[in-house]
C-alpha cells in the first residue's frame, strides 16, 4: 500500500515549499517532491546567490570609490573563487533552512523525478510515481523512489532557461545563469543576450568586476517590462559605467573559438557587426518545466508551454493543480509563493480570490537598482486611463545626497479620475527595498489622498515616495 497524502507537491522551489508549509498549517498531510534542490532555482541558482554576488560587486565598487567618502583603501582587489564560494555558502545555508522548515511542519520530502499516473477520482486518490534521480543526493530523511498517492497534486516545477536554436548554451563559452553564477575566473569580456532582469544583473555584476560588457536586446528598450522613462535613465547610467548596449538588435550567428565567441549582431537598420567576447550569457527568458510529468496523458490543458489554470491554481483536470512559473508569467518567486497559498487555501475551501497580477512588484538588482509595480505610463495610457504622473529625483532628497547616491527617480502614475495609484516605478539606490510601500498602498486600494496624508520618516529615501505623489498633483515641495 503506497503512502497516501492529502496534498503532494511536485517541485520544492519557492512556490512548492511555501505551498507545502501552508498546506501543513491547514492540517493536510503533505509531501513535496524534488529532484535537485530544496528552495528551487530561486534559492540555489537564481534570486539569492546572485544577490550575494551583487553584494560583493557593490562593496568592491564602494572600495574603489572609498575616497569619495573620505576613506582610503589601497590595493583593492578581489578573489573570484572566494566571491563564488560566499555566494554558494549563502545558498547552502538557506537550502538547509528550507529542509528544516519542512521538517518542522511535518512535510515529507520525496527525492526523485515525479510523474503523475492518475488524478483523484471519487474516493480514489491520484497517483504519482517518483523515479530515482542522479542529479543530486537526497537530503537526510527524504523518502525515495516509489509510488505515492495524493488527493490533490500540485505541479510547481518551475522553469529553465530558454535556448535559442544555434546558440545553445554549452557551459563553456555560452553560459546560462548556472555557469554565470560560478565563474572559475572573471571573464575579460562578455556578451549578454537579453536585457531582462537576469541579463542586466549579470551585465552589472561583471562590469563592476571589470569585464568589457555588451548587452544585446531585441526590443527597442532595455528592461522591456519596465517604464520607458525609468529604463532610459538606467540605460544612461549603464552606458556611463561602460556597458555597451545595443537595442533593437539580434544575435543571428555565434561562432565559437577556442576561448572566445564571435557573435554576429544585426541591428534594426539591417547593418550587422561582429562582437567577440570571452563568454556569452544567454538570458533570453525562461520556459516552464511541463515535460515528463504525465500532464498530456491526463489531458491537462496546456497553452503555449503554460499549464492553464483558473486563477486559483485549478487545472481542467480535477485533483491536479499548477502554480508558479509553469502556470504562466510573471515568472517570479513571490508570484509563485502567493499563487501557491491561494491554491492550497482554495483546496481547503477557504474564501480565495485569484491573484491580481497587476499588483505584483518586480525588482532588478543591478547598479542602479530598479523596482516597479503596476502599470507603466505607456500601458496606463494604452488602457485608456487619463493619468497624472509624479516624478521626484534622488538629487532632491537629503538622505540620497548623504549616501552619495544622487542619481535616480521615483515615478508615480495615478488615474486622474479616481486617484487610484496605477503604478510606481523607481530607479536608484535601494529602491528594491522601497517599492513595497507602494505595493501595500495599491493592495489597500489607496488614492493619492491617503499617500499624501501618510507621514514618511525623515531623513529617508522613502520621503521621495511622498514627494513623487505630491508632484503628481502639483504639490511637490523639494524641487
Amino acid at each position: 500500500m503506497p503512502d497516501t497524502y492529502d496534498v503532494l507537491i511536485i517541485g520544492a522551489g519557492p512556490g512548492g515549499y511555501v505551498t507545502a508549509i501552508r498546506s501543513a498549517q491547514l492540517g493536510f498531510k503533505t509531501a513535496v517532491v524534488d529532484r535537485e534542490h530544496l528552495g528551487g532555482i530561486c534559492l540555489n541558482w537564481g534570486c539569492i546567490p546572485t544577490k550575494a554576488l551583487l553584494r560583493s560587486a557593490e562593496i568592491y565598487h564602494y572600495m574603489q570609490h572609498a575616497a569619495d567618502y573620505g576613506l582610503s583603501a589601497e590595493k583593492v582587489g578581489f578573489d573570484a573563487a572566494a566571491i563564488v564560494k560566499r555566494s554558494r555558502g549563502v545558498s547552502g545555508r538557506l537550502n538547509g533552512g528550507v529542509g528544516m522548515l519542512l521538517k518542522k511542519n511535518k512535510v515529507d520530502v520525496i527525492w526523485g523525478e515525479a510523474a503523475i499516473d492518475s488524478a483523484a477520482k471519487g474516493n480514489q486518490p491520484g497517483q504519482v510515481t517518483v523515479k530515482e534521480t542522479k542529479r543530486a543526493e537526497a537530503p537526510k530523511g527524504a523518502k525515495g523512489a516509489g509510488t505515492y498517492q495524493a488527493k490533490h497534486i500540485i505541479v510547481a516545477t518551475g522553469a529553465r532557461p530558454r535556448a535559442i536554436p544555434g546558440i545553445e548554451p554549452d557551459k563553456k563559452q555560452i553560459w546560462t545563469y548556472y555557469e554565470a553564477m560560478v565563474p572559475e575566473k572573471m571573464p575579460k569580456s562578455l556578451l549578454v543576450m537579453g536585457s531582462g532582469a537576469i541579463g542586466i544583473e549579470f551585465a552589472s555584476f561583471y562590469r563592476t568586476m571589470g569585464a568589457e560588457v555588451t548587452v544585446v536586446e531585441l526590443l527597442p528598450q532595455i528592461l522591456p517590462v519596465e517604464d520607458a522613462e525609468i529604463a532610459g535613465l538606467a540605460r544612461k547610467r549603464f552606458e556611463k559605467q561602460g556597458i555597451k548596449i545595443l537595442t533593437g538588435a539580434k544575435v543571428t550567428k555565434v561562432e565559437k573559438g577556442s576561448d572566445s565567441v564571435t557573435a554576429t549582431v544585426e541591428a534594426g537598420d539591417g547593418k550587422s557587426q561582429q562582437i567577440t567576447a570571452e563568454k556569452l550569457i544567454s538570458a533570453v527568458g525562461v520556459v516552464g518545466n511541463i515535460e515528463n510529468l504525465g500532464l498530456e496523458k491526463l489531458g491537462v490543458k496546456i497553452d503555449r508551454g503554460i499549464v492553464v489554470t483558473d486563477g486559483l491554481g485549478r487545472t481542467n483536470v480535477p485533483g491536479v493543480y499548477a502554480i508558479g512559473d509553469v502556470a504562466g508569467p510573471p515568472m517570479l518567486a513571490h508570484k509563485a509563493e502567493h499563487e501557491g497559498v491561494i491554491c492550497i487555501e482554495t483546496i481547503k475551501g477557504l474564501h480565495t480570490h485569484p491573484m491580481d497580477k497587476g499588483k505584483i512588484p518586480g525588482c532588478t538588482y543591478c547598479q542602479p537598482q530598479i523596482a516597479s509595480v503596476g502599470l507603466t505610463e505607456a500601458k496606463a495610457k494604452e488602457q485608456g486611463f487619463s493619468v497624472k504622473v509624479g516624478r521626484f529625483p534622488f538629487a532632491g532628497n537629503g538622505k540620497a545626497i548623504a549616501l552619495g547616491e544622487p542619481d535616480g527617480l521615483i515615478k508615480t502614475i495615478f488615474d486622474a479620475q479616481t486617484g487610484q495609484l496605477l503604478g510606481a516605478h523607481m530607479v536608484g539606490a535601494e529602491v528594491t527595498e522601497l517599492i513595497q510601500g507602494y505595493v501595500v498602498a495599491m493592495t489597500l486600494e489607496t488614492t493619492e489622498e491617503e499617500l499624501m496624508h501618510t507621514v514618511f520618516p525623515h531623513p529617508t529615501l522613502s520621503e521621495m515616495m511622498h514627494e513623487s505623489v505630491l508632484d503628481a498633483y502639483g504639490r511637490v515641495i523639494h524641487t
Partner: protein
C-alpha cells in the same frame, strides 16, 4: 435632564419624513415600548417608540408637519423626578439638539442615539417589513460590532471615492474584501449592475450612524435587486450532490440580464381581455382551403391563429399611434411602421424575431415569414438584425394549454401580448348562455410610455380586429 426624542431614520437613505400623528399628548405618562408617534415617508409608515419612562413634556413638531429632517428634535420626555413643566426646548434650533455634554459617552451623537437598536433613547418599528428580511446583513453586524457608536462602513479609499463619484451608497454593498471590507471590485460591480444607487447620493456623507447602524434592510433589498443571492448563498440552501451545476450560455445570460432589467426598469402593468374567435376560425378555414398549390402540390400558405394575432397587433399599433412607441432615456421614440416581435421557443432559450411592417403585410406573407423565422431560430441561424428592434412582441403559450399568463416586456419594446389557448367557453350572450370559442390575451405595458387608458385603447383595437377579422384582409 430631559430625554430628547429625535426624528428617526427609516432607511439609511432617508433624509426627512412627515410627522403624521402624535399618539401621546403633552403630559401623558410614557413607558418603554409605548408608541409616541407615527412617521410617514413616501415608502412607509413607522412608529416611534419610547424606550425610557417619563412624561411627554413637550411636543416640538406638531402632527401633520411635512419634511422633518432626520435627527431633528421632535419632542422631550421629562425623566422620572423631573418637572415636566420646567422642561424647555434647547435654543438654537432642533438640529443642534445634541444634549449638553454632562455625560458625553451616554448621550453620544444624535445619530447614534437614534439608530442604535436598544442602546439609544428610542427605537421604531417597521410596519412594512419585507417578508423574511429581518436578518441584518453580516457586514452591518460586523460594522455595528466594530464601531457601536459610529456604525462605520469599512471600505477601501478607492472604493469610497468611486462610490462617491457614481452616487453609490456603500452601506448597500456587501464587501468581498477582508472582514467584509468593501473594495473596488464590489463598487464597480454595483455600478455595473445599477445596484446600491443611493436614492439620495448624500447618504454616504450623512452622519455615520445613520448609514450603517440602522437595520440594513433597505440596502440589502436594493443590493439583492439585480445581483440576487450569491452562488454560495444559494448553494447553502441545498445539500451538496442534490443538484447539478449548469454553466450559463450566452443566450441564458442575455435573457437573465435583459429581462431582469426589464422588470426593474420598466414599470409593468397588465390588461387582460377575452377575444371571441369564432369568426376568425371560420375565416381562417376559408382562407386556408382556398390557398393555391405550388408545383409540388403543397398549399402556398397555411395560416395559424398566431399569424392573425401578429397582423392584428400590427394594425392595432397603427390605429393607436401613441402606443407605437418606446422609451428612450429622456424621450419617447414613436414609429411610423408597426414592428411586431414574435417569441419563438428553442432548446435552452428563446428568440424574438421581428415581423417588420406587420400592418402592411398580408397574412400569408406573415405566415410564411414566421415559418422561416421559426425554423432558423431553432437552428440559431437568425441574424441579429432579424431579432432586434420591434415595438411590441407576441408570446403565445396557447399550444401548451395555458389559459392566461403575463409576459415580461422585451427591452427596448414597450408592450408584449401574452396569448392564451383558444377554447370553448360558455358566455352570456343576450341574456342567454352561449358557447363560443374564446382566447384570453394579456397586454403587459411599460407605464413610462403607455398609461392605462392608452394600453386599454391598444388592446381594444386588437380585440376588435380579432373578433372582426375581415378588417385584416383589406
Amino acid at each position: 435632564m430631559p430625554i430628547n426624542v429625535l426624528m428617526p431614520a427609516l432607511s439609511p437613505t432617508m433624509e426627512k419624513g412627515n410627522l403624521a400623528k402624535w399618539l401621546k399628548k403633552e403630559g401623558d405618562a410614557v413607558k418603554s415600548g409605548d408608541v409616541l408617534a407615527e412617521i410617514e415617508t413616501d415608502k412607509a409608515t413607522m412608529e416611534v417608540e419610547a424606550i425610557d419612562e417619563g412624561v411627554l413634556a413637550k411636543i416640538l413638531v406638531p402632527e401633520g408637519t411635512a419634511d422633518v429632517p432626520v435627527n431633528d428634535l421632535i419632542a422631550l420626555i421629562a425623566a422620572e423626578g423631573e418637572d415636566p413643566g420646567s422642561v424647555q426646548a434647547p435654543s438654537g434650533g432642533a438640529a443642534q439638539a445634541e444634549a449638553p455634554t454632562e455625560a458625553p459617552k451616554a448621550e453620544a451623537s444624535p445619530a447614534a442615539q437614534n439608530t442604535t437598536p436598544g442602546g439609544g433613547h428610542m427605537s421604531y418599528e417597521r410596519v412594512n417589513e419585507a417578508p423574511g428580511g429581518a436578518k441584518p446583513a453580516a457586514k452591518g453586524n460586523e460594522a455595528a460590532q466594530a464601531a457601536p457608536a459610529g456604525g462605520r462602513v469599512f471600505a477601501s479609499p478607492l472604493a469610497r471615492r468611486i462610490a462617491k463619484q457614481e452616487g453609490i451608497d456603500l452601506s448597500g454593498i456587501q464587501g468581498s474584501g477582508p472582514h467584509g471590507r468593501v473594495i473596488e471590485r464590489d463598487v464597480r460591480a454595483a455600478a455595473a449592475n445599477g445596484t446600491g444607487k443611493a436614492a439620495a447620493p448624500k447618504a454616504a456623507e450623512a452622519p455615520a450612524g445613520t448609514v450603517a447602524a440602522a437595520p440594513p434592510l433597505a440596502p440589502k433589498a436594493a443590493a439583492a435587486g439585480a445581483a440576487g443571492l450569491s452562488l454560495d448563498q444559494v448553494r447553502g440552501f441545498y445539500d451538496k450532490g442534490a443538484y447539478e451545476e449548469v454553466p450559463l450560455d450566452g443566450m441564458r445570460k442575455t435573457i437573465a440580464k435583459r429581462l431582469t432589467e426589464a422588470m426593474q426598469v420598466a414599470p409593468h402593468f397588465y390588461l387582460t381581455v377575452d377575444c371571441e374567435l369564432d369568426a376568425l376560425m371560420k375565416l381562417r378555414e376559408q382562407l386556408n382551403s382556398s390557398a393555391g398549390k405550388d408545383k409540388d402540390g403543397k398549399p402556398l400558405f397555411k395560416l395559424s391563429v398566431n399569424d392573425f394575432v401578429i397582423k392584428a397587433m400590427g394594425l392595432a399599433l397603427m390605429r393607436v399611434p401613441a402606443a407605437n412607441a418606446v422609451w428612450a432615456e429622456d424621450r419617447i421614440l414613436r414609429f411610423n411602421n408597426a414592428e411586431v416581435g414574435v417569441a419563438v421557443a428553442i432548446d435552452g432559450g428563446l428568440f424574438t424575431p421581428v415581423i417588420r411592417k406587420a400592418d402592411q403585410k398580408t397574412l400569408s406573407t406573415i405566415s410564411n415569414e414566421m415559418k422561416d423565422f421559426a425554423a432558423r431560430a431553432r437552428a440559431k441561424k437568425l441574424k441579429p438584425e432579424e431579432y432586434q428592434g420591434g415595438v411590441t412582441s407576441v408570446s403565445n403559450l396557447g399550444m401548451f394549454g395555458i389559459k392566461h399568463f403575463t409576459a415580461v416586456i422585451n427591452p427596448p419594446q414597450s408592450t408584449i401580448l401574452a396569448v392564451g389557448a383558444g377554447e370553448k367557453r360558455v358566455v352570456v350572450k343576450g341574456d342567454a348562455p352561449a358557447v363560443v370559442q374564446v382566447m384570453t390575451c394579456t397586454l403587459s405595458c411599460d407605464h413610462r410610455v403607455l398609461d392605462g387608458a392608452l394600453g386599454a385603447e391598444l388592446i381594444a383595437a386588437f380585440k376588435s380586429l380579432i373578433e372582426n377579422p375581415m378588417g385584416m384582409l383589406v
